[in-house]
């Protein structure tokens, strides 16, 4: 019999080894799936994990890695605050949408005035406020009426999607767009665009913001009173209350920060890589970020790495789909597998395996 014994402290060695182990296990299992689909498993795995980093066109894909990872990391850092304290914001997707709508609306309101020093900072503020406000709805309902924040934040995603469609078709529609849905392209409006800071690098203000968020998260948990209160609440809500933590303020703080960061991610995306408000502007970053937050073990640096890994599977997966004719569903299933293995082997960090007959089964 194999059984698990809890380690007194999480194993440092295993916490580094488990992700590698998980990736290897995914390669084996995923390779089997690709072989079953009639593809050369080695080639597929190489296309997903190796080519974007070191292949012929890596110069392009490395930058894209940042573009794809930045919103995931930015949102996940925010979410991790709440998750640590047991406050579940599942609706970052909606906050991301609202951030984009508000930020873009401010930018478009100034069109065609050129004043980058004024407009772009205002857009950033509007984006953060938009996401923050959308997150305040579940926060206030939670603190005032004790309404479950998982559900309210989740349901608000659907409302935000409808709002997005309405904006793309109505108020924010490009007046010169021949009646088609979608706003003006912000990336072509110098005062409101979020361009690549160094051409070809993929580096834009959203990436910078993501890095700042990682540092901010790190400092918050390592040094700040808030970080301590969040951890304490997550580990022992009763102790936290005796320790003077005000749950209401904590809910407002955690949901507010995660909403604002998600809103920022939306703003940087709409002004940069996406370029415009369109009906299908959101592509699920808000949901994927939840996974990223957990893969990173709710630790800012872990989230940074997890976000990059997730982005790699997207970019490599796309390349595999296009070059090798794999259905995109196979890539989705492959990502699911990777997550399963990452989550499964994580047990080794906190528990050790004992072989033989245990006294407790």
């Amino acid at each position: 019999m194999i059984h698990l014994v809890k380690r007194p402290q999480p194993s440092r060695a295993w916490s580094y080894a488990t992700p590698v182990l998980a990736v290897l296990m995914t390669m084996v299992a995923g390779g089997a799936m690709f072989a079953a689909l009639g593809k050369d498993p080695v080639e597929v795995i190489r296309t997903i994990f190796w080519d974007p980093l070191f292949g012929e066109f890596a110069f392009y894909f490395r930058g894209q890695l940042l573009v794809k990872a930045a919103p995931l990391i930015l949102i996940a850092v925010g979410l991790s605050l709440g998750f640590k304290a047991g406050i579940w914001n599942i609706g970052a997707e909606g906050q991301y949408i609202l951030g984009a709508i508000c930020g873009a609306a401010v930018g478009l309101a100034f069109y065609p005035m050129e004043a980058r020093w004024l407009i772009f900072p205002l857009m950033i503020i509007a984006g953060a406020l938009g996401g923050w406000a959308w997150a305040m709805i579940p926060a206030i309902l939670k603190t005032r009426f004790n309404t479950n924040e998982i559900l309210v934040s989740l349901l608000l995603v659907y409302v935000a999607e409808q709002l997005l469609a309405k904006m793309a078709l109505g108020a924010l529609r490009n007046p010169d767009g021949a009646g088609f849905p979608g706003s003006r392209n912000l990336s072509q409006y110098a005062s409101a665009s979020n361009p690549e800071l160094i051409a070809g690098s993929g580096m834009h203000w959203g990436v910078v913001a993501a890095l700042i968020a990682v540092i901010f998260g790190y400092v918050l948990f390592a040094r700040h009173m808030w970080g301590f209160q969040i951890r304490l609440t997550g580990e022992s809500p009763r102790a936290a209350r005796f320790g003077g933590v005000k749950p209401t303020r904590l809910v407002i703080f955690c949901l507010g920060v995660s909403g604002a960061l998600a809103g920022l991610a939306g703003l940087f995306e709409v002004a940069g890589p996406a370029g415009q408000i369109s009906i299908d502007f959101n592509v699920g970053y808000g949901f994927t970020a939840i996974i990223v937050a957990f893969l990173g073990r709710l630790h800012p640096v872990g989230i940074l790495l997890a976000g990059l890994l997730m982005a790699l599977t997207y970019i490599g997966g796309e390349a595999a789909a296009s070059n090798l004719g794999l259905p995109s569903a196979a890539i989705q299933a492959f990502q699911g597998m990777l997550l399963f293995f990452l989550l499964a082997v994580d047990v080794l960090t906190n528990y050790s395996l004992r072989f033989g007959k245990g006294e407790v089964a």
């Binding site: 479950n148 559900l151 409808q162």
Partner: protein, 310 residues
């Protein structure tokens, strides 16, 4: 132009059809959560059920066998979740989300050969003259067997949780797994069973979409129904008849908004499309504002990992 164009009895009958997929999935999730487990992978299990049910029904020519296949498919995927969260103690929220991702992918792979095929028809039950009764006949005696099954399941789950010994143990596990363990109950085994049941129900809900409500197979056809099912469980304060109410209310608002549009009522359409979600939030607020009631439902151990040896 006017509301008289809407036949309310027919509307009730069609909201029952619209609500049944989420009703089934939410009932399953209710049992899972009562056992103290939060499985956010309902969407993934639903869509896998949708393709498994569809494929089996097409191959065998029998929708009934298809529904069994759907339940098996959903339960199988749920067992992956069970192994990860119960044996390997992974985080339930993240695992559930991964389950959805995996389910969406694998179902699309399985379904590649089934696009553009018509499934065998699930017949309505024959109640003879009862079906012709005005209003009552339309609402009560004019459905396929899955509608009645889902209603029976509501009653069965209600009875099980409230009166049966098994339900008592299940609730005990959900409220306080350490205490239940100390009393000698096999927490992990019980949770495995609950998770599998939840998966089977979600699978049935998915198959109801692909075999009856739509009926066809297309990738991503659940289009978020699994998430709504999750919302409805909390909306219901973890009570079986609350789930029924929630699912029918949600289905009702969805169907009603389309009917209002069809009747030409001058309400802005885009707000109508938001209305099912906004009304669900509103009802959620009203119910949870009554603190005594809201506090009763939620299992205390919900979402927490259980490890026996400490």
């Amino acid at each position: 132009m006017d509301l008289s164009a809407i036949n309310w009895a027919v509307l009730v009958a069609s909201l029952m059809v619209a609500a049944t997929p989420i009703l089934l999935a939410a009932l399953g999730e209710l049992v899972v959560e009562k056992a103290g487990v939060l499985n956010l992978g309902v969407e993934g299990m639903m869509i896998l059920g949708a393709i498994c049910g569809f494929a089996v029904a097409v191959e065998t020519g029998s929708p009934l066998v298809g529904f069994f296949g759907a339940a098996a498919g959903g339960a199988l995927l749920a067992l992956v979740f069970a192994v990860l969260t119960q044996v390997l103690l992974s985080n339930q929220v993240a695992t559930g989300l991964a389950l959805t991702l995996f389910g969406l992918g694998i179902s699309a792979l399985l379904g590649q050969g089934y696009v553009g095929i018509k499934p065998p028809k699930t017949e309505k039950l024959d109640f003879g003259p009862l079906s012709d009764l005005p209003v009552v006949g339309t609402i009560l005696f004019n459905h396929d067997y899955m509608i009645y099954f889902s209603l029976a399941l509501v009653a069965a789950v209600w009875w099980f949780l409230r009166y049966s010994r098994g339900g008592l143990i299940l609730r005990a596990v959900g409220e306080n797994h350490e205490a239940a363990h100390a009393l000698g109950y096999k927490v992990v085994v019980i949770r495995f069973a609950a998770i599998a049941f939840g998966g089977a129900c979600a699978g049935l809900g998915g198959a109801y979409l692909s075999l009856v409500r739509v009926p066809q197979w297309t990738e991503g056809m659940t289009a978020g129904a699994g998430w709504i099912a999750l919302a409805i469980v909390v909306f219901a304060s973890w009570r079986a008849f609350g789930v029924l109410l929630g699912a029918y209310l949600f289905g009702g608002v969805t169907v009603l908004q389309l009917n209002l549009q069809a009747a030409g009522v001058a309400v802005p359409v885009e707000y109508l499309s938001m209305s099912p979600y906004l009304i669900t939030i509103l009802v959620l607020v009203i119910m949870s504002a009554d603190r005594s009631r809201a506090a009763l439902g939620a299992p205390a151990s919900l979402g927490r990992s259980f490890h026996a040896s400490n």
